[in-house]
Symmetry: C2
Subunit: 323 residues, 2 copies
């Protein structure tokens, strides 16, 4: 199944089903919002499967991805991993952070009360904060009991999403030095218009990883085209890590961290900080600037045959906050 959320004036928005080619959509009849669906997935799923089958046979209205909110405009929990080792190694070069402890995934708890839509402007207080994007994949889970194994966790993955984890690089190392993690450095993320059940990816969903490339363009110029598969920990392991000492609430969103490949000199990057780290390694200085107000970033993951999946993130950074 494919889901999108359209504005209806409520905080959770109105859940819609999207046809398999992302061309048409229809309001879900069984349940009004993705939040409520996540809180009782097993009850609602059979009716939604029937609605989805009918939509794929025809009907519905044209789907305008640029009008979509985030699939979950607000969620009870957002936990973001950092599961691509080449990203971590490059960040250590540029920010001088400690190496990751062996045998443990990296993960932080981020703000979950607001996820921006894929076409929504990104209001941020200052260009001096080092405005950067991070292209990621993510999953939305059903409830996961404390102490679940990776295999048990894998069975609780309900939806796949594509995320832009906005980051402020001038603040990030200051907050990291405290050991408390990020508050100011991690404003609201954005999520691409369509959330998909894993079966929509066919064989490209394997080992609890998305085996597809993520394209990122900055102001219309290709910035990266990195493969999603090479996570050092799959989403099953990330979920089990998160559930070590807590029950995960249904509707928890869990991220992969910035998609990055060891072949970064060929495939490019999905965040500016990583390119700056490569510049530091290769040229001795960081040349690519962080974003200015008015700059745009585009991110999309399609299937190998170029069929649409999550829809595109295409966002502009704007001045936010009080004057």
């Amino acid at each position: 199944m494919r889901f999108t959320t359209l504005a209806d004036g409520s905080s959770d928005g109105r859940l819609h089903l999207v046809s398999r080619d992302n061309s048409r959509c229809i309001p879900a009849a069984a349940v009004s919002s993705l939040r409520l669906l996540m809180e009782d997935w097993d009850s609602f799923a059979p009716a939604l499967e029937a609605e989805y089958a009918a939509l794929n046979d025809g009907g519905g209205a044209p789907f305008q991805p640029a009008e979509a909110l985030a699939p979950l405009p607000r969620a009870w929990q957002w936990l973001d991993g950092s599961a691509y080792d080449s990203h971590g190694a490059l960040m250590q070069k540029v920010f001088g952070a400690d190496p990751n402890p062996e045998g443990r995934p990296l993960m932080y708890q981020g703000m979950s009360h607001c996820f921006l839509g894929g076409a929504q402007d990104v209001p941020l207080p200052s260009e001096d904060d080092g405005i950067d994007f991070e292209g990621e994949f993510g999953v939305i889970c059903d409830s996961v009991p404390m102490g679940s194994t990776p295999a048990e966790a894998a069975a609780r993955i309900r939806l796949l999403v594509q995320i832009n984890d906005w980051s402020l690089r001038a603040i990030a190392p200051v907050e990291m030095k405290t050991g408390f993690g990020w508050v100011q450095a991690k404003p609201a993320c954005a999520v691409a218009p369509v959330a998909l059940t894993p079966d929509e990816l066919g064989e490209a969903w394997r080992d609890s990883r998305i085996d597809l490339p993520l394209q990122v363009d900055l102001n219309g110029n290709r910035f990266g085209l990195a493969e999603g598969y090479p996570m050092s920990y799959g989403f099953d392991q990330l979920i089990a890590h998160a559930a070590q000492s807590r029950d995960l609430v249904a509707g928890t969103v869990l991220g992969s961290g910035t998609v990055s490949n060891e072949t970064y000199r060929e495939v490019g990057s999905t965040c500016i900080a990583e390119r700056r780290a490569i510049e530091l390694l290769d040229e001795g200085k960081q040349s690519t600037p962080y974003m200015h107000f008015g700059d745009r970033v585009f991110m999309e993951c399609r299937s190998r045959d170029q069929s649409p999946l999550f829809g595109a993130i295409d966002q502009q950074v704007v001045k936010g906050g009080r004057a």
Copy 2:
């Protein structure tokens, strides 16, 4: 006004008003849950003020604090400061963390999808994790726009709460070393039964601080009786810090960090780790063990004349997770 939340089978629970002496309660007529109240405070408050006045004139049912859920059993955001400098200094002694950057409050984003009631058992996976409590105060805010000043933030504080921030000390320094902050080391917090509007504290609410002592007993023995006032940053400043690069959603819960005084040798501590740090300083070794399953912690803040305010936290640690 005084509010409590009682179980009704829903995820948010049923909002009740509590009489000024904490002896009686009645279901709120204007709105069903504290979450919904927080999402539209200004609309509901006048009717609730009238209901509260009527309750203080008589009526309602006996209030049983031990039956209360957390005032907000789930919240969209939980941000916890560390605003007592003596706590920070002692934690650096015992865990060897970096000193705090000058001029910035310490703060982390924690799990908000579950707050335990003050009398609920605390399920945790292992006694080997260094199970510890942290006695704190907190506020629940209305929405706060990005870039708000401390004065603007102060005007958005709607309720005061008393919190037990459960912590796993064997995991905490491992997660701090990554710079990503805590996930496994910070399971669900607990919140005392009654949330109060600031006027209920009279002159004990000043400078956006709670000028009252917090009593903590471990297994029936006094552990600490520390004053709440000496925060290096008031809640107004903590909120403004949190809102630097994000809008805060209505219903955000924001904590003080572990209550601690420079006179810790006289007043004791509100967490075990701090006592262990003092033992390390004074005796060269840490003697007080962390908690075992079956151990209980009691926390209460009353007015100077011993009138009840938040009600008590009185919790037992139990084995949680899968066998």
